[in-house]
């Protein structure tokens, strides 16, 4: 491994990558707590990828934009309620903060859910009617992803007189001032972390009960496992597909609000992209098509990536995610929990 080629490659890597295990030891609990908060957001977004894959065997690449539009949706709702971006956090007491958080979250969920269902109608259903091959679906998904991004980039600012969208990041509306509530083994738990983790837990639990314990959830699983037989049982495949996009969208919209609580630099049209890829990784990591796999994969990815950025340096955060994914897939090609929602089909 000598010669000019090797030297230049190592020089490149040298300047960036660390291997700082002791830092991991020092702040292990803090990293775990923050990692879980990130992971909870990945988990909620990952559900959308996994459910749609389960019933359609389609990677809905535009799901990251469903998430992104949820961020703009809740932002718009807060603007209409009279908020404006400022450096100061809202400070009218806990009750009103929770009310506004709730409104913003519901609007985010409605926007993302609506966009997801609309996307299904406009982009995918016509292809299904024509029996298009799966590659066409995939390309359409990527195309739809660009269309939605460019909509926020160019068209939304025109529609809103420059108030929303555009080329620059929108300054954040700060609803919650980050404050430490208590500590776990020295790791600080803030109110924002609590809001994220508790909301995500409630939503994940609700999704799990819906899929596994209700009649409509059973219909979704039936279509995932054997669409033809599901039809013979009287299940409308079209309705199931719509419902699936709706659930995935609604959870992404909730995740969008939680995400904006954590990011300091505001929201932008391209802001769903990386997060979407991470959530997709989380879904694959847990076993795509498997709801609990997506939840587990999200949490795991959030935590491991947070450890990784301390050990290897913050620039390596995203790389850690993909390396973890590749390592797990080498050992378990179907992901950690395997493909249970649609175990029937190859």
């Amino acid at each position: 491994m000598t010669g000019p080629w090797a030297a230049s490659v190592f020089a490149l890597a040298d300047s960036d990558i660390n291997f700082n295990i002791s830092a991991l030891g020092h702040s292990f609990w803090q990293l775990t707590i923050d990692g879980l908060a990130y992971g909870a957001i990945y988990a909620l977004v990952a559900v959308g990828y996994t459910l749609v894959y389960g019933v359609l065997r389609l990677i809905n690449f535009a799901h990251s934009e469903v998430f992104m539009l949820g961020m703009f949706g809740q932002y718009a709702a807060l603007m209409i309620l009279g908020f404006s971006p400022s450096g100061n956090a809202y400070a009218e007491g806990a009750v009103m903060t929770i009310v506004f958080l709730g409104i913003a979250m519901i609007v985010g969920m409605a926007v993302s859910g609506g966009v997801a269902v609309g996307l299904e109608r406009v982009a995918y259903r016509p292809l299904r009617k024509r029996n298009a091959p799966s590659l066409v679906f995939l390309i359409t998904a990527i195309g739809a992803s660009f269309v939605l991004q460019e909509f926020v980039h160019f068209i939304l600012p025109k529609l809103t007189g420059g108030k929303l969208g555009g080329v620059n990041a929108q300054q954040p509306i700060r609803l919650v001032e980050s404050k430490q509530q208590f500590t776990i083994f020295g790791g600080s738990v803030t109110n924002i972390t609590l809001i994220i983790v508790i909301s995500a837990l409630i939503l994940a639990f609700a999704a799990d009960v819906f899929i596994n314990r209700t009649k409509f959830g059973r219909g979704i699983r039936a279509v995932a496992q054997d669409p033809t037989t599901a039809t013979l049982m009287g299940v409308s495949r079209e309705k199931v597909i719509m419902l699936t996009f709706l659930i995935g969208g609604v959870l992404a919209g909730a995740a969008a609000l939680l995400y904006t609580l954590r990011i300091p630099n505001g929201i932008i049209y391209s802001g769903g992209f990386i997060l979407g890829i991470k959530a997709f990784c989380a879904a694959v990591l847990g076993g795509i098509g498997n709801l609990r796999g997506a939840l587990l994969g999200g949490l795991l990815l959030g935590v491991l990536e947070n450890y990784g950025q301390i050990v290897f340096g913050s620039g390596w955060r995203d790389v850690v995610s993909f390396v973890v994914l590749i390592l797990v897939l080498m050992v378990r090609p179907t992901g950690i929990l395997g493909e249970t929602l649609g175990r029937a089909r190859a």
Partner: protein, 239 residues
């Protein structure tokens, strides 16, 4: 008026025509069997009746109503329920969940009515009661067939379509399945049965149709066809 009336039905897969204009009827209360060699078009007929394969020509009437263009999942509401070839048990669902899929569209007036339907299925197939929480994919072939039939019964069908319920099963279990099919019919459910097991099927059917490469070549009473020399030779393995 027959419960099911198929007239001049043509069904194809792409350019290949699998059924070349068949006509058949099933009267309410009857047990009618469709027999024929592999690839004759039996499953295709069943699929067309359930609506998961479109017709290129002809009509299907059910209970006096033209259902030729009706969507598949809506036909279940009308009372056409199928236990498909290969059983179609949902592999990731428990026996109980599979049975519940059977009454996905059915509205029970009371909880007791649901319970009575379920109890009836368990009476016919006590094995299923023991295995309620077992996952479908881990059941044996015979058990899966019981799930498939039981599941169809949960819908309380007006017309029950059974596509080769004896496929791949041991003789003992085949006997049991046939007995239950007769029992279900005796209770008043109309059945259209597809079978390779011609001896058994014909002796239990009111009437039968013999299908050959997409055409009905013979029809008559079950016992009558059993005695027919050409049927004996072709389908009963007797020279």
């Amino acid at each position: 008026m027959p419960l099911l009336e198929i007239t001049d039905m043509v069904v194809g897969y792409g350019r290949i025509e699998a059924l070349h204009g068949i006509s058949l009827t099933v009267e309410a209360g009857e047990l009618v069997t469709l027999i024929g060699a592999n690839g004759a078009g039996k499953t295709t007929t069943m699929r067309a009746v359930s609506g998961i394969r479109p017709l290129t020509r002809g009509t299907i009437k059910f209970d006096g109503q033209d259902i030729t263009k009706m969507k598949a999942h809506l036909r279940v509401l009308e009372g056409i329920v199928q236990a498909p070839e290969g059983r179609g048990v949902f592999p990731g669902m428990t026996v109980q969940e599979n049975l519940d899929m059977g009454c996905y569209t059915r509205k029970f007036a009371t909880k007791a009515e649901y319970q009575a339907t379920l109890d009836h299925v368990f009476e016919l197939f006590p094995r299923l009661a023991e295995r309620r929480s077992q996952v479908g994919g881990t059941m044996s072939g015979g058990e899966q067939q019981m799930v498939a039939i039981g599941r169809a019964l949960m819908a309380r069908p007006k017309l029950l379509l059974l596509d080769e319920p004896s496929m791949g099963l041991a003789p003992m279990i085949i006997q049991q399945i046939f007995r239950i099919v007769s029992e279900i019919n005796a209770e008043g459910t109309t059945i259209l049965l597809v079978e390779q097991n011609a001896q058994q099927a014909l002796s239990r059917s009111h009437r039968a149709y013999i299908l050959e490469t997409g055409e009905v070549i013979k029809t008559g009473g079950g016992k009558e066809l059993l005695a027919d020399p050409s049927v004996k030779e072709a389908y009963l393995g007797v020279a």
